[in-house]
């Protein structure tokens, strides 16, 4: 398996997602599907995997991206992919009906067992010796093990290129290096997207929320958000509805998780990045 991050993977580089593939094929027998996941979770790779294996399933597959598509061929079934917030945004744009006839299918991170096998596979390919407790440590520190960040960490470990065996402190060092300015493009898109997706002034509001979340190691409470936005949106009901929308989008897009009474970054690495490069 190749150590790669960013490009969608094909063929042997595609790893697992077996249960997801089975579910999708079963669903495609009856429905059109909208595959929803935050960016970088691996939607495109999964779709290409389905494309490659379609014939075995009695389908003919055609892969299209939105930018390239001028006219839409008549499909028997459609499998679409989009960022999770799509349904929230679609509701706002009155496009609810357009996506209502699609069956929603989420795509999450690997479970820790799959993430472990993923790292094992990678380490065998290169080969770099990653002991089980080291793999466990990596998965724990990523906390949201999607293939992209597993690959990114692995690339870092490779680059550190030491003859010495990889121990926990080497892993921690790799995580620290990921936050170097030189590697900021691993995370920059999280910041840039805010503007593209939300526009002004909501991107500014989202920034305010994310900044207060990153400063507090325990994450921040809804009450804190209300106050932080209170200066910008005076009407409490208006503020509340914007706040709920933003939290919805930020959760769906993979920035945040709701921890019961507080919100925190889903990726601890992203929190670190945010603290150093964005909130300061």
């Amino acid at each position: 398996m190749k150590n790669t991050a960013g490009q969608p993977v094909r063929g042997d580089d595609f790893f697992d997602r077996e249960p997801e593939q089975r579910t999708l094929w079963d669903s495609l027998d009856a429905d059109n599907i909208l595959l929803l996941a935050p960016r970088r979770v691996g939607k495109t790779s999964l779709m290409r995997r389905l494309e490659e294996t379609a014939e075995q399933r009695g389908f003919r597959a055609l892969y299209l991206t939105v930018e390239g598509a001028t006219d839409e061929p008549t499909f028997v079934r459609r499998l679409l992919a989009g960022s999770i917030g799509l349904d929230t945004v679609a509701a706002r744009l009155n496009l609810g009906d357009t996506i209502n006839d699609l069956r929603m299918q989420g795509l999450g991170p690997f479970d820790s067992e799959t993430a472990d096998r993923f790292l094992l596979e990678l380490s065998k390919s290169y080969p770099i010796d990653l002991a089980p407790q080291i793999r466990e440590h990596i998965v724990e520190r990523i906390a949201w093990p999607i293939p992209y960040y597993l690959q990114v960490v692995f690339a870092e470990l490779r680059e550190m290129n030491a003859a010495a065996p990889i121990d926990r402190s080497r892993v921690d060092e790799a995580f620290a290096r990921l936050l170097d300015p030189a590697r900021k493009n691993y995370f920059d898109y999280w910041r840039q997207r805010l503007h593209d997706e939300l526009g002004t002034p909501e991107d500014g509001w989202a920034l305010t929320l994310l900044n207060s979340i990153c400063r507090d190691p325990e994450g921040a409470s809804y009450e804190t958000f209300q106050q932080a936005l209170g200066r910008r949106i005076s009407d409490p009901d208006e503020r509340d509805s914007h706040l709920r929308y933003l939290l919805d989008v930020l959760q769906n897009d993979g920035y945040l998780v709701d921890d019961g009474d507080r919100y925190r970054f889903r990726l601890p690495l992203l929190r670190e990045y945010w603290l150093r490069r964005v909130a300061r």
């Binding site: 706002r92 744009l93 009155n94 496009l95 503007h195 526009g199 002004t200 002034p201 909501e202 500014g204 207060s212 400063r215 507090d216 921040a220 409470s221 009450e223 804190t224 209300q226 106050q227 932080a228 209170g230 200066r231 910008r232 949106i233 005076s234 009407d235 409490p236 009901d237 208006e238 914007h242």
Partner: protein
């Protein structure tokens, strides 16, 4: 019999002028929060530091009154009064410059309280103590002031509630002492802070702020329509003004319109009461004018405080009414866009202006934060702008007077039939027509149909039964081609009646003949009979709901523009555009218009859906 209070009437700006009895009587709308605060107070463990609180609300939301009412409630409650002593402060503590000043003010407040309770010796003793505090060394003065406050609390065996109004100003002045104050509050079970502020405090929401996650926040929102009604009725009861109660009950549109424009601010509602009490026979426009007149000194002073260039920008925003981008505003003002932007951000940080999302596009819009100020401003500018406001007021009065306009399919049909009753009544000589209507209303459709057919046979040249049967067939998903034939005949017989054209327009729209339906709509929209709009507003809406059902929302909005009604009926126009283009369209519209437009869009859509289902069944 209501017992009338002697003197003040409702205190609009200075709740401290009210006697305890008056305060209790006037305080009606924040009762739930008061009960909650009292309940929380009862749950405080005696030996542990209590939960400190902050009440946030914009001007006129009732912070000062709430603090006063809370103090009274604590004192009068046997258990709470035993354990707690509420201390009240002047609304503005201008004398606070250092931490010691705050503690000295607390001591003074305690002295006032002792004196009010007749404990003159203790009060005098306290004055001596304060006079004896070290003067030169601030640190020692603060330490000793606090120590004495705690000591006195111990001696009278009560915990102290510090009810500090405008605490934002106090804390701004004591920036260096935040952590010390926090430490005292966090450790000492004898002191409870309940502050009030007109804005959120950085110190409570910034992670590095001393009061981050420390204070429980209670935000005072604008009053709902029901709460406003309750407040006004209460004032009317106290002031013995039964006519105000009558008009609140009998003219729901008048109150609802004013509520929409004032945003549920209790102080404005109290002013409104004065207006209504003085002129219950007036109309909503006169009410609004007098209400704005009452706000004039305040708004004028606030506007004049601004530097000249800020005034220009605020003027531009207020006149635009709808949210506007910095670029467009600069264009209107013929000013440099960078200058406008920097003015806007200064005004935003002062809370005068708010940034809002306007879709589509990625540029932010700006609007005046205090909406009633915007209304005030519109009323005082050019005749053209005032007209726009007056149109909105007129529209809202009619729109909101239709009680419970949220008509679902069944009620919608009944309502339409009931409203066409007016025209039947004009033809009272045809008792039979009324009978047909009665049948229809009591769901005896086949009898109604039979009777109308009989009348048509007898009076081939009478438009009334033709129109009646046409509407019945349309309404009850009957034979639409017959309905169309009958309606056309009614229009031929009396081309000047907007009612018959309305019936025909609805039928044609449902039959998918939009272009001809639109022609009929033009005819009835042009009808200059004022009462057609006033009395038959639901019928007008019914036509537009039909248009929405036929996916002609966009065209029907265009129709309003062509007929010169898009400004006059702006909420309807915006509702249709929002249905056509998506709810985001409403972000481009001033909140006063957006709210009714949103309600209308919802109603039109739900009626249109019902029509769609009827069609499928039919």
């Amino acid at each position: 019999m209501t017992e009338h209070l002697p003197l003040h009437g409702a205190a609009v700006y200075n709740p401290h002028l009210l006697s305890p009895e008056e305060l209790k009587k006037y305080f009606v709308v924040r009762r739930e929060l008061l009960e909650h605060l009292l309940d929380e107070l009862r749950r405080e463990a005696p030996d542990r530091p209590p939960q400190h609180r902050l009440i946030v609300g914009t001007r006129g939301m009732g912070k000062t009154t709430l603090l006063r009412r809370l103090a009274l409630a604590v004192s009068e409650d046997p258990d709470l009064g035993q354990a707690w002593l509420p201390l009240q402060f002047p609304e503005e503590q201008y004398n606070v410059a250092r931490l010691s000043d705050l503690w000295v003010n607390c001591l003074d407040a305690l002295g006032d309280k002792l004196e009010a309770e007749g404990q003159l010796d203790q009060a005098a003793e306290l004055d001596t103590l304060v006079a004896g505090l070290p003067k030169g060394d601030e640190e020692r003065r603060a330490e000793q002031g606090l120590a004495q406050l705690k000591g006195l609390a111990g001696r009278i065996d009560k915990r102290l509630i510090l009810l500090i109004d405008n605490i934002d100003i106090v804390l701004d002045r004591l920036r260096d002492a935040h952590w010390k104050i926090r430490e005292v509050l966090a450790c000492d079970p004898r002191l409870l802070l309940i502050g009030a502020s007109s804005r959120m405090l950085e110190a409570t929401y910034e992670y590095k702020g001393a009061f981050y996650d420390f204070l429980k926040i209670h935000e005072l929102k604008g009053l709902s329509l029901d709460e406003t009604r309750e407040l006004l009725c209460n004032l009317a009861r106290i002031g013995n003004q039964p006519r105000v109660v009558d008009l609140i009950e009998n003219e729901p549109g008048r109150l609802k319109t004013l509520h929409n424009l004032t945003g549920g601010n209790p102080r404005t509602a109290t002013l409104l009461f004065g207006v209504l009490a003085q002129g219950p026979d007036g109309d909503v426009r006169a009410d609004l004018e007098r209400l704005l007149d009452q706000c004039t000194p305040l708004y004028k002073a606030r506007f004049e405080e601004l530097p000249a260039q800020s005034q220009q920008v605020v003027d531009g925003l207020a006149v635009s009414w709808d949210p506007i981008t910095a670029g467009d505003l600069a264009g209107r003002l013929r000013m440099d866009v960078n200058k406008v932007s920097s003015q806007l951000s200064r005004l935003e940080s002062q809370g005068v202006v708010e940034k809002v999302r306007i879709a589509p596009g990625t540029k932010a819009g700006f609007q005046i934060a205090e909406r009633f100020f915007n209304i005030w401003y519109l009323m005082r500018t050019s005749r053209r702008l005032r007209k726009k406001l007056v149109w909105l007021v007129q529209f809202l009065r009619v729109f909101y007077s239709q009680d419970e306009l949220k008509f679902h399919a069944g009620r919608f049909f009944a309502r339409s039939a009931r409203l066409s009753a007016d025209m039947y009544l004009r033809h009272a000589e045809y008792g039979a027509v009324n009978l047909a209507l009665a049948f229809q209303l009591s769901e005896r459709v086949s009898e109604a149909t039979e009777l109308l057919r009989h009348l048509i046979a007898e009076h081939a040249d009478d438009p009334v039964p033709h129109n009646g049967l046409a509407w019945l067939l349309y309404d009850r998903a009957g034979d639409l081609s017959e309905a169309e034939r009958l309606a056309r005949h009614a229009v031929e017989l009396d081309p000047n009646s907007p009612h018959y054209r309305h019936t025909l327009g609805c039928i044609l729209a449902r039959r998918g003949n939009w272009s001809e339906a639109a022609e009929q709509a033009r005819a009835f929209l042009r009808s200059d009979s004022k009462d057609f709009f006033e009395q038959h507003w639901p019928d007008i809406l019914a036509f537009f709901a039909e248009a929405v059902a036929q996916n002609e929302a966009s065209d029907s909005a265009e129709l309003l523009t062509q007929e010169g009604l898009s400004d006059r009926w702006r909420p309807l126009y915006e509702a249709l555009r929002a249905i056509a283009e998506g709810p985001d369209r409403l972000t481009r519209v001033a909140p006063e218009i957006r709210r009714p437009a949103g309600e209308l869009a919802k109603e039109l859509t739900s009626v249109a859906e019902a029509i769609g289902q009827t069609k499928i069944k039919g």
